[in-house]
Each structure stands twice: as C-alpha cells, then as structure tokens.
Symmetry: C2
Subunit: 336 residues, 2 copies
Amino acid sequence: VKPTLTDIMRSAIEDNLKQVVYSALKDSAPELCHMMAYHMGWEGEGRGLDAQGKRIRPLLVTLSTAAAGGDWRKALPFATAVELIHNFSLIHDDIQDQSTTRRGRPTVWVKWGQALGINAGDTMFTIAHLAAINGDTWLSQDVRLRGVRIIDQVCVALTNGQYLDISYEKRRDLTEADYWPMVTGKTAALLAGCTELGALAAQVSEDRQKTFHSFGLALGLAFQVQDDWLGLWGDPQITGKSSASDLVAGKKTLPVLLGIQANGAFARRWAAGPIAAEEAEDLAETLKVEGVQVAVESTVEKLTREALTHLRVAVVENAASRALQEMAVQLIRRQN
Amino acid sequence: VKPTLTDIMRSAIEDNLKQVVYSALKDSAPELCHMMAYHMGWEGEGRGLDAQGKRIRPLLVTLSTAAAGGDWRKALPFATAVELIHNFSLIHDDIQDQSTTRRGRPTVWVKWGQALGINAGDTMFTIAHLAAINGDTWLSQDVRLRGVRIIDQVCVALTNGQYLDISYEKRRDLTEADYWPMVTGKTAALLAGCTELGALAAQVSEDRQKTFHSFGLALGLAFQVQDDWLGLWGDPQITGKSSASDLVAGKKTLPVLLGIQANGAFARRWAAGPIAAEEAEDLAETLKVEGVQVAVESTVEKLTREALTHLRVAVVENAASRALQEMAVQLIRRQN
C-alpha cells in the first residue's frame, strides 16, 4: 500500500521529535532523557505506537503548511514544539489530577514520584522551546521569533485554562459563560496555535494566518464539546470509560452547565451533591429529556460549520487540504 | 544620598518585571496574575521589599552588560527573563521540597494548593520566555534568538540539576564527583547564563561572552559551596537557621561528601542513618577536626580567584565593573 501524505508526515514528525529530545538530553542528562522517552512512548515497558498517542497537533501544523501551499518540512520545528508542549501539559495534568495511568501505562509521577514528575514536565517544556528556536535550517529568524511568541501565548492561555479548570472544581455556581474561557484555554488555544504556526511556516499573509487560527480555534472548541458529549452519552464499549463517567467525576462540562441552566430535575439532583456511579446513566437520560443533548449537538454542528468555512477560505485545493478537512471531520465525529 | 548605579538598575529591573507580568496576564488571566504578583512580593499579605528577594540574577545581567562597555538598558528583557526563570524554579522547588514558607511568607502551593501551584510555576516559566522574546525595542532578532537559546540551555541544566538533587535524596553511596554536576545545574548554570546574557546584550565578541560565562560559572559554584559552608558552620543568629541544619535535612552538600570520603568518625555516623538535631553541632565539629572545613574553605578560595580572574579579563574598567566585582565578593563572603 502506498503511504498517504499524512503517513509520511507522521513518520517525519516522529523522527524529528526523537532527534530533538535525544540531542538535547541524551549526553548531558541521560536519566532525565529516559523519563522523556518513556512518556513519549519510545522507551520502557509498554512502549510502541499505542503509547505514543496520535500526534494530532503536529499533524495539524504540517497539514496546515501544505494546505496553505507551503513546504511542510519547514514546519517540522513548530510541529515538534507543539507536540512537546502538549506532552509537558499532560505530565503536569496527570499530577494535578492524580491520574495513575495514561495510554494504558503508569504515568510519569507514578513511576518516579511527584517531585521528579514536576521536573520532567519542566524539562519537556524547555525542550519544546529549543525545538522551535533551533529550526535554523528551515526558517528565517523572523519566522522563528514569531513562532516562539505564538507558542508562548498559547502557553499563557493553556495555564489560564488550567487555572480555571482546577478552580472550578469546588464551585457549584457556574454557568455556560464560565465554560468557554476554560475550554478555549485548555484545548482550543493549542489547536489554533497549531494551524496558525502551520500558516506562518508557509509564510502566507497575516490575514490568512488569522483565518488558519480561526479554523483551529473552532475545531478545538468543536473537539472539546464532542468530548463532553462522549463523556456523557458515549458508548462505554467504544470509549473504554464507564457510562456517564464525567458526571461521577463532577466535571464542569457543557452538558452539565446547560443542565444546571435548564433548572429542572437534573439541576436539583446536581445541587444536592456528588453523583454515584449507579445513578449516572439515569441522569444522562434526564439531560436528554431536558433537551440538553440536542443543544450540545447543535453547538457541535455550529462550531464544525464555522471551522470548515474558515478552512475553505484559508487553503488552496490540494491533497493536504483534503487530508486536513478529513482529519478535522474525523476529530469531531469520533466516537472514542 | 545619590543612588548608586546598582540602585538605579534595581529600580529599572523591578519596573520591567512588573510591566512584563502585568501586561501578559492582568486582562486575560487576572487571578493567575495575582498568584504571580504574590510570589514576586508585590501583592498580598507581607508584600514589600523583604518579600521580593535581592534580584541578584537580573543585576548580574545588567552589570555585566555595563561592565562589558554596553548600554545596560538594552539587557532589561534578559534581566527580567532570568529573574522569572529563577522564580518559576522556586515555585516548583517549594512543591518538590514541600517547603511551607519562602521569604517569611506562605509559599504559593500552601496558599492555593499543589495543583494550582504547579500551574503558577508553568505560567511564570512561559512569561520568562515572553520577556526575552518581546524585547523588540532594544535588541536585534539575532541577539534575542541567541538569548532565548541561552535561557533554554540554562533551563535544561537547571532541570537536570534538580533531577540529580532529588534522586540523590535516597542515595548514601555518593562521592564528590556526584556533587559538581548537581550544583552546576542547580545554581551555577543560571548565574553563568546571567553574565553571558549581559555580554551578549553588549554585543562583545563571542570569546568575551565565553569569558563572562566562565566568570558566572565560577561565581555560582563559589556561591553554592559557601552556602554549604553556612549550612554547617554558619552562625544561627545570622543565618536564621538552626545550627548545622543541613546535616539534619540530610542534604548532600560538599562538606558531607568530603566527610564521607575522609572515612572517619563522621563517615561512620553518616552511614548509620538520619542525624538528629541534638547531635548536629557535634558532628559539624567532627568535620572540622577531620579537615573538611579547611578543604571547603580552600575550594571557595580557589573558585573565587578563578571567578575574579575571568572577570578582570572580561570587563572594561568602569563604575559597573567595580560594582560587579564588589557584588561577586559580597555574594561569596556573605554570612547569611
């Protein structure tokens, strides 16, 4: 079978990721390097494709560059940087949420302890910057500086989204208005950064870079709302999580906030305190009856249309733009 | 009283720090901004000069620029960046060590919890990068890119030093050879980065930039070994810590490692297990008798001579180079 453009990109991205991580650390800090390589899925028990994740974010970068008419190989330093930023945030997230497994393996902090886990995240963050800074061969100084600035602005949004998410945990007075800044920071800002960085590497006009940004932002929001949908109404056989698991975890998802706003049976039950696993499925059904499922689905539809409209305006017609559109639709329509 | 050059720099640095932190966060993330401002000593209970720290690292940057014959104001973006890097590492250190107070106030994680504390450190790290990247007005693209690369290489060293420090906690088989990479990463790399960044901002030759780097590196090592000396033999009335507190904490300081190497009474006691507060002073005396204090003092002397030799080669004779030499000597000779 002939490999697709996306396959070729995925393989180049993986090579570049390894090159950056190993060249920055292998000689100077071999043990720290092993922690990075473990988290990235390259070393240790359970290593391999399943442990590596889907590399969605770097693919968004390179596909955007090619869909803008540029040479996607030039975007590899940015692609590598965003994937490392994503993984730095996962390492710290797992400590903040006290999650014990990720992609089927023990999390970094479970294996090495919390102190070394925090430190491993900091290292990953540092290397992400080095990846973008060191792209000498492919990108001009101006493009690299602009790229690093985009990455840092994404990180400010990311940490603010994380701040909101953590500080929402103990609050029961939230509304839909509190939802959008949180998920924009936590999820959509990074996806918007990816598509914008791709356009920057292609050196299209600033207007078109902004359109790519808008595409990624709407895509990221649609992706997150769909994630919320799956956490409530997804098929446990496909998602691999127990049904309506987000309700039991007490997450402030869009369905929950809309349910509170509906001020019916769900809102009364939610106000009464934590939800047990046995009642979760019934409550998910209550939300359906109260019209929340339909509202969430129409939000996903609206955001998807918005994303695809921006995409059509931004790209040139080629194999990459078709692959990018396909990937966007798959991300939103996914069932797990 | 006419303010000294160092006073003028200190005030400009504080202004720039505030400008960078507030402009990056105040509108987009006001609560996260308050956490930063609290840690920096500007807001919250106990704010003020004592809570701000001495700003040694940014002063090393600006003094180095001026001592190299350059305009120190151009180095402010780098000065601000290194101080924010230092403070990011303090926020995470406090979590890793579970320290409850810093500069006489509750640490960030004690006030906001561990999850938000990790996140605040990540935010500080991000803003440090933005500070260096955004110095458009003063520095060329080339100088900024080189500067950010130096900062990231320092951070790799910093996280590796932290890795070694944490992983040494449970080890009893360490020798002097294990000490130097740890303190080079934890302390000296950042000071070397400061003096190098100062020289870079002055745009002197790469050779002279390297000499500034060597000055900062030797200064940082001397500073750390003196810190170890104080932790064992410092006057509790002046250091504010109980006597020989480092022994009780089980820290792998240079005196401890030399004491193990001496293979006498101290080494036997150390091998037997944790040291109680009541026996710490006697053991510090044992180390003196075994010749460790003299060895540590001659190490400080050697490193100080090395630092001052590099400094003399690197600088031009002016008010800044005199202030820089004075600051270096004060840092090493300090009693607390």
